[in-house]
Symmetry: C2
Amino acid sequence: MFSKACEYGIRAATYIASQSLEGRRVSLKEIAEEIDSPVAFTAKILQQLSRNKIVASSKGAYGGFEIEKSNIERIKLGQIVHAIDGDKVYVGCGLGLKKCNANKPCPVHDRFVAIRDDLKNMLEATSLREMTMGLEVGTTYLKR
Amino acid sequence: MFSKACEYGIRAATYIASQSLEGRRVSLKEIAEEIDSPVAFTAKILQQLSRNKIVASSKGAYGGFEIEKSNIERIKLGQIVHAIDGDKVYVGCGLGLKKCNANKPCPVHDRFVAIRDDLKNMLEATSLREMTMGLEVGTTYLKR
DNA sequence: GTGTACTAGGACAAATTTGTCCGATTTATG
DNA sequence: CATAAATCGGACAAATTTGTCCTAGTACAC
């Protein structure tokens, strides 16, 4: 569904959000440990999220990553996906046709659009805050 | 959503089905032209579909690919996807966790399962016959 | 200022997916 | 039997994605 990069990105952002809610700024190393991802690769992804203003980074000792509280409410899953995978989740034909649309549809156009719209709606409706909810109480996980 | 191989596979199978319904056996070359796919790569994919009994191939002069009429009704999109991409559409966590399940879910587990079930249902409900319907009357397309 | 703990970013490497090439084999036809 | 038209299958090549390594730069603490 998503690229590995995107999966790591969502997990990383979710972890950062959960810690930011407790007032903790977290390092790359800690993030990679907590979401069980390759450190250097995760660094690249966090750079992207940082450039896209999804996470804030600070260099130097006691530096790390954090997300402003107001942003934790505001940022939706869809923004993270878009920052990493671009719009390919939203655009693009299920059968790979370049010019598939309602006028010249592929044989599964309508059925795909329906499912993709559901996905899109879910991504746009789910905030980082919601992602963190279960983590705090231990009913959801980011590893393994 | 699907791999390129799978996209080509669905398009190829759909084209073969549409021609088989008219009693025509079609060659690899013709298939690749009609679905606008790389010839040699399409050959590999058709081999897979052949091994999985989704299409029937005959070698030699006047050989080619075809699908039995009764199979056109019976074969569902899901079988084609499974033959090429395996079960990764059905199994597997949206965030890439190996052991994500209802007991130890990732933060988006439920929302993903809902969407994936829709996709699964669609794939299992759509037959090759249905895929060919619009092609005959020119309301759906397999190229571009 | 120096050391230490960080992120930034470029270059590189490995793995996977996508795609090509070519010889072997099969089958119909003359 | 010879030829032509086709699939089969293995080896290879290119492109993309995933992942590593190393250097530079930044900020805090002493």
